[in-house]
Amino acid sequence: MADEKKVKGWKGVMDGGLVDPGTSEVYNTGSWRTYRPVWHEDRCIHCLQCWAFCPDMSIKAENEKFAGFDYYHCKGCGICAKICPVKGEKAITMVLESEAAAEEKKKQGGES
């Protein structure tokens, strides 16, 4: 997502710090995350309570089914994991971002 374009100067933006609406969409709040929500498909009952409770609209849903996380905006608050009603091991668990990244790397390495 890195923008290689030159950042605008004072002549190129609206006076007084005014901004167009909807700009939070392009702001990467995913970088704030310490814990990452991880989905376990085998345990998910697709109740979509996580989708309803997510304060950042970072749960994707398609055809009334869970369809992944929006990691660009997810701040890792853990509400989705907390609200998940599945008994025993939940369908969403929170994993340390550093561990999740290492896991991902290992998986990619193993597959190739």
């Binding site: 100067g9 004072w10 006076d15 710090g17 005014l18 700009t23």
Partner: protein
């Protein structure tokens, strides 16, 4: 009592009225008919908005008058109204201005062309309700245009012009119209007001905000978080607005002069062309200084006076040009700048003089603090000191001097 004036010099018809400075300001606001006024009383401004609220109650204006619980709220409501796209006003004095300080800076940062008469009064403490300039001088770096009025007529005229100046798309900055508390605000004077409100409305025009929050066709966010990556740029834009204001004040004043026969410049030179000794003043003291100059001229002293009407943006070059022929100059400040030698106006002029290569010996006379009287006799004393300085060709002794202080 009003009398119609038939004066060929005036382009538009005027009415002569006996008005206090506060009333004159209220009449200007009545004729402009702003959309929103957020008001809170404070001496000596109280009567200004009191009078204006009568106009609201009588249905003479269409303004929505909001009674708020503090000056902080008054400026907040004014900012909100202005951001919504309304022509918004408030008025205050001294500690009221101090209380709204935080929002005063936000108004200019968000580039909202609010107009606010400031009825100058000493900032407490110890508690004082009388005139000095410590209130408006205290916020000279907050990004507001500042116009100072010598009399009630000027207060009336400056307020009408202020809307056109601040709302200019190249400027988009709030304007403070300063008038001296009690000396002007509570003293009845002969004031000529424009007879037909329509003339005023045509002059100010309808305010169309570039970006109003109540325009769903062009949504915008006002006041987002502005951190290390952007605040510098937005402040630089404010500088540009101030720079542009310089020309716009001149254009608007020239147009107003053609309309009313009353012309105003950034500064006013009085008997200055051949003057050897001169004082610089702003506000009502400019009038007292003119009377003193008249007395001294009758006695053969080459005395002059420079009045600063526009203090922000600061017309440093014009001031230095005007004073170039003098042999000694006193800058009269109605405010201290503690820890700095000389008052705020003095230091700005001396700073400008360095850039302009002006070598005239200059002293700072601080006077009128907390409403202490200033009269022609006292200003004659200032001129007496200037005569000595002119003779010596340099300033001996203190740079910061006091007029009317029990200095013992």
């Amino acid at each position: 009592m009003t009398t119609a004036v038939a004066n060929e010099k005036k382009v538009v018809a005027h009415e002569v009225m006996g008005l206090t400075g506060n009333d004159a300001a209220a009449h200007a606001l009545r004729q402009v008919n702003p959309d929103v006024a957020a008001v809170f009383p404070i001496t000596p401004q109280t009567e200004l908005m009191h009078k204006f609220s009568e106009f609201v109650a009588n249905g003479q204006v269409e303004t929505l008058l909001v009674n708020v619980e503090s000056e902080h709220s008054a400026m907040s409501a004014t900012v909100g109204a202005s951001a919504a796209g309304a022509r918004a006003i408030t008025a205050t004095s001294a500690n009221g201005l101090a209380l709204m300080w935080e929002i005063v800076a936000i108004a200019s940062s968000l580039r909202l062309p609010i107009v606010m008469p400031v009825v100058n009064r000493a900032i407490s403490g110890p508690l004082n309700i009388h005139c000095d300039h410590s209130d408006s001088m205290g916020c000279r770096d907050l990004g507001w245009i500042q116009l100072y009025s010598e009399n009630s007529q000027e207060a009336y005229d400056n307020i009408i012009m202020a809307f056109r100046i601040g709302e200019n798309p190249k400027v988009k900055l709030p304007v403070m119209v300063c008038l001296d508390g009690f000396i002007l605000s509570h003293t009845m004077e002969r004031v000529e007001i424009i007879a037909d409100n329509k003339v005023v409305n045509d002059f100010t025009g309808e305010y169309k905000a570039e970006k109003g929050l109540l325009n769903p066709a062009d949504p915008v966010t006002y006041g987002p978080l502005d951190l290390t990556d952007w605040l510098f740029e937005h402040k630089r834009q404010e500088v540009e607005g101030m720079k542009n204001a310089f020309g716009v004040v001149g254009e608007v004043s020239a147009e107003y002069g053609k309309l009313t026969g009353r012309s105003y410049d950034y500064v006013e030179k009085y008997m200055l062309d051949d003057a050897e000794v001169a004082v610089v003043a702003l506000g009502s003291t400019a009038g007292t200084a003119k009377a003193t100059v008249d007395e001294l001229r009758a006695e053969g002293v080459k005395a002059g006076m420079l009045k600063i009407r526009m203090f922000r943006p600061f017309p440093g070059k014009l001031i230095c040009d005007a004073l170039a022929g003098c042999k000694a100059v006193s800058v009269m400040d109605r405010a201290f700048s503690f820890g700095l030698e000389g008052g705020p106006v003095f230091n700005e002029i001396r700073g400008a003089a360095y850039g302009a290569g002006l070598q005239v010996p200059m002293v700072s006379h601080i006077y009128g603090i907390g409403g202490r009287d200033i009269n022609t006799e006292m200003i004659r004393g200032v001129f007496g000191q200037l005569k000595e300085i002119a003779g010596a060709g340099k300033v001996d002794g203190d740079i910061e001097r006091y007029v009317g202080l029990r200095d013992y």
